[in-house]
């Protein structure tokens, strides 16, 4: 049995399936509890349904990006591991790097050399060991961070809302900044607009137009984001 045959064998499918099942189970249990709690905190069924629909529409694009990341990982470490690693803890960027670090130690370059049994083991163990830190810390500090944040807001709900809204702007600002900073070309001391920055700017501009338009036609509101993204991708493709 070659290393890739082992990686794609049925015991591996079952083992990886169990891990994926835990992630799905957690999401479903949380969702059921949230759904039941909704009316008690003053949410209507419609609000909750709209939220879920909107999240579903938003999920499509990023899911396809993650899928293409999984397909490139699948070629190197087999289906089950790629499937599990991108369903659990990891991110597209992290997994390939971690797997590569693991195989490099035993002299196998991921993607170019033939995968040996030893390298397969190294890739999997390195990915798992290097990723559980996130879950361990997040899981066992969430309670504490919640208390710290409540102290910071002094039990003032409005202040907590202001803090969270600020954090949301901080996250998206940082992500935009990461792309837009590429416009500044330090070597030539010039400004150059690459396609990623263009997509970021176009996404923002078209979204602005969509928000204004949907104020007049509320029916299209939940499609604002999808329409903005599609238009942006079409324009960027033709530039």
């Amino acid at each position: 049995m070659s290393a890739l045959e082992i990686a794609n064998s049925w015991p591996m499918w079952i083992a990886c399936g169990a891990a994926v099942a835990v992630v799905v189970a957690q999401a479903v249990i949380f969702a059921i509890s949230a759904w039941k709690a909704g009316p008690k905190v003053g949410l209507s069924k419609d609000q909750m349904k709209n939220a879920m629909k909107s999240s579903a529409i938003t999920s499509i694009g990023p899911s396809v990006v993650i899928l293409s990341g999984m397909l490139s990982l699948l070629i190197t470490v087999g289906g089950p591991i790629a499937w599990m690693r991108l369903s659990m803890i990891g991110s597209v960027m992290f997994e390939a790097i971690a797997a590569g670090i693991g195989t490099n130690v035993v002299g196998v370059t991921l993607g170019t050399d033939v995968l040996t049994n030893e390298a397969l083991g190294m890739a999997l163990w390195t990915m798992v060991l290097c990723s559980i830190g996130w879950v361990v810390f997040a899981t066992f500090s969430a309670n504490r961070m919640d208390k710290i944040q409540n102290k910071l807001s002094g039990g003032d709900t409005k202040k907590l809302i202001a803090i969270s809204t600020g954090a949301v702007i901080g996250v998206f600002g940082a992500m935009c900044g990461q792309h837009l900073s590429k416009v500044v070309n330090l070597e030539n001391k010039a400004l150059t607009l690459d396609k990623a920055s263009l997509a970021c700017l176009l996404g923002a501009v078209i979204m602005f137009v969509m928000i204004k338009v949907s104020e007049k036609f509320p029916a299209i509101k939940e499609w604002n984001l999808t329409i903005s993204l599609l238009l942006t991708l079409v324009i960027v493709a033709f530039v």
Partner: protein, 230 residues
């Protein structure tokens, strides 16, 4: 304040219990595939090699284990933190989905309603994410060849477009605040690229987001206090 009573005394303690239990279970189950390799096929890496790889990996990622949950906490809330870090793909999927769910339900992040809605939104995104991956892994790499090159090429620009659009969505209500953060985020990323923070190991991976989020929280608190005093 019956709602608050229920939320704080009943709902949140229950969610914390579920989160800790499923998180711990997730950590244990993550090792099962590696154990199957060892038990069924006798593949167990040499401890020395594994330590070398772990140290190399940890030196690039260990800071992120702590910095990311802290950076994203105010956005995700406690329940969102449990979910996002077990399922991964946080900035590119969980946060955008939770935020759009809140926009659609017209609730504010950080409120009780916002927390419930974010949980629902994130759960939906996890189920869709895993469904797409499951279909993808069954069909295999053949589906990649089914997609025309123009589409796979365009996918590279989906995330920057998504972040631009979401930034606009949240900037509409606080334009000045958003402008400050955006300018700061661009500057810090340029500084990172110029190597200003090269003395800080792995800074490229986390410094931009950590500083932007905390600056934004400080700006939010200052603005809030000012408005309250006025």
């Amino acid at each position: 304040m019956e709602n608050k009573e229920f939320f704080d005394k009943e709902y949140m303690p229950k969610m914390h219990r579920i989160g800790k239990l499923t998180g711990a279970l997730g950590v244990l189950i993550a090792f099962v595939p590696a154990l199957v390799l060892a038990i069924c096929y006798g593949i167990l890496p040499a401890p020395a090699a594994l330590v070398t790889a772990f140290v190399a990996g940890a030196s690039s990622f260990a800071v992120l284990w702590f910095v990311e949950p802290i950076s994203y906490f105010s956005v995700l809330g406690p329940v969102g933190t449990y979910m996002a870090f077990l399922s991964g793909n946080i900035s590119n999927m969980r946060v955008p989905c939770a935020s759009m769910a809140q926009v659609s339900a017209e609730v504010e992040p950080g409120s009780e309603k916002g927390s419930v809605i974010a949980t629902l939104g994130m759960a939906v995104s996890i189920v869709i994410n895993i469904s797409v991956l499951t279909v993808g892994v069954i069909l295999g790499s053949s589906i990649l060849s089914m997609l025309p090159e123009s589409i796979t090429g365009a996918l590279n620009y989906l995330l920057p477009a998504l972040f631009g659009a979401l930034m606009m969505q949240f900037s509409m209500k606080s334009k000045g605040h958003s402008a400050i953060i955006l300018v700061f985020a661009i500057l810090i990323n340029v500084a990172l690229k110029a190597g200003v923070f090269s003395w800080l190991p792995g800074a490229n991976n986390y410094l931009g987001i950590l500083t932007s989020v905390f600056l934004s929280i400080v700006v939010a608190i200052v603005t809030y206090n000012k408005a309250k005093d006025a």
